[in-house]
Subunit: 110 residues, 2 copies
DNA sequence: TTGATATATAAACATATGTTCATATGTTTG
DNA sequence: CAAACATATGAACATATGTTTATATATCAA
């Protein structure tokens, strides 16, 4: 049971977003902002690596669609992948996204 | 200079996302995931309330577009608004989004 | 009540995104 | 090498999103 501690200084951190970083932050958030992709991140936050088939089974999702989403997140730098024989294993590369989702999950939305 | 401390337990928090909450989290993230809307949140994290014109001036953005984004975020429950004479002041209602953006801002993206 | 100011709204459009389906690629096993 | 398995890819499509333009609404001040 791993616990992370994060120190957030809201005042300076959010103000300093230059246009370029703004785009990047928005881009990452847009990539995460999808139920299936959040689920995949959820799985990969608990399992170090999972192959496409594992993910399909655990989520009950179709191979092609799952693959598209995985490719998307890989392109965005959120996931990485590694081949092992017939399987390709995906893993979380940008682990900070866990914090983002966890934070959202914690608040009473709307 | 306000500092927040957040305790995140990644293991249980992210796993428990039921389908409904999943949709909500994705929805909120999708709403935030836009450069201009992140900028607005940034402004409202430092200024308690701002009217549309203030925001337009500070961002150099057009009235109509700004208004659209504000309406969008209000609908999603992220912002609230209050009229004062000719002006309508917007404020952050779902303050947790600050944490989300701050977190993203802190990490080296890609 | 008229004009000026502040904001919202609606239509129209271009573009981006999510999904499905069919097919291609790569890898192992017999 | 052929068959089976695992995954990726591309085309096609429906839908959602962001933006602009023009116009409407609301409030104040003279």
């Amino acid at each position: 049971m791993k616990v992370e501690e994060i120190q957030l200084n809201t005042e300076d951190l959010i103000g300093n977003l230059d246009p370029e970083k703004l785009e990047k932050v928005a881009f990452i958030l847009k990539t995460i902002a999808h139920p299936m992709r959040i689920s995949i991140i959820g799985l990969l936050s608990v399992n170090e690596k999972l192959c496409v088939n594992d993910i399909c089974e655990k989520l009950g999702s179709e191979q092609s669609l799952t693959s598209h989403h995985l490719a998307n997140m890989k392109l965005s730098g959120i996931l990485g992948s590694v081949r092992d024989g017939k399987n390709i294993f995906y893993y979380l590369k940008l682990k900070e996204v866990i914090t983002v989702i966890t934070c959202m999950n914690k608040c009473q939305l709307i």
